[in-house]
């Protein structure tokens, strides 16, 4: 899992079955100091995150397990909204 900042939204009307109605967000992956670790990516949202939120995500096959139904083609899912990061900067 990893931290990320929601920096945008994606609208895709025609989607694979199972993805209908799922919210897609553009997320910039971050380390705990707030440094971007790689290029932004699209993630499916399961927690009603919004733009600017600091979130945590799960990637690869486990991303699909965050959804209902769960056998869907996604490789990143937002699974939590961060209230607090407690670590040395």
């Amino acid at each position: 899992m990893y931290l990320g900042r929601v920096i945008g939204t994606v609208v895709a009307e025609r989607k694979y079955e199972g993805l209908e109605g799922k919210k897609l967000l553009v997320v910039e992956p971050l380390d705990h100091r707030g440094k971007a670790t790689r290029e932004p990516e699209v993630a499916v949202d399961t927690v009603q995150a919004g733009r600017g939120d600091l979130v945590w995500l799960v990637a690869s096959r486990e991303a699909a397990l965050a959804l209902e139904p769960w056998f869907v083609p996604v490789d990143a899912a937002i699974v939590g909204i961060v209230d607090e990061v407690d670590a040395k900067k």
């Binding site: 899992m1 931290l3 705990h32 009603q48 979130v55 799960v58 397990l65 699974v79």
Partner: protein, 86 residues
């Protein structure tokens, strides 16, 4: 598995239900690389060197929460000592 150092914790009240009651830690690989998050089941603390399993199937077996568990990284051990040839 990866050798990592525990840097701190992350708290978030709004989360997927499988994260209820889980301790979420920030870990950094000791051999370099960006920090990431792992669920802690061995009561690790900040500054500890730990063993992190980064693979969902093993994690699902260890957590025993069923098959639909969107957790991938799990701290599975606290490392006391590492010997390696330089």
């Amino acid at each position: 598995m990866k050798l990592c150092r525990v840097e701190g914790t992350v708290v978030g009240a709004v989360h997927h239900k499988v994260y209820d009651g889980q301790k979420l830690m920030i870990v950094t690989p000791v051999d370099g690389g960006d920090s990431f998050l792992a669920v802690d089941r061995v009561q690790a603390g900040v500054g500890d060197t730990v063993l992190v399993n980064q693979e969902g199937n093993g994690t699902r077996q260890l957590l025993k929460m069923g098959q639909q568990v969107p957790i991938r990284s799990l701290i599975v051990g606290i490392v006391d000592e590492v010997h390696r040839d330089e």
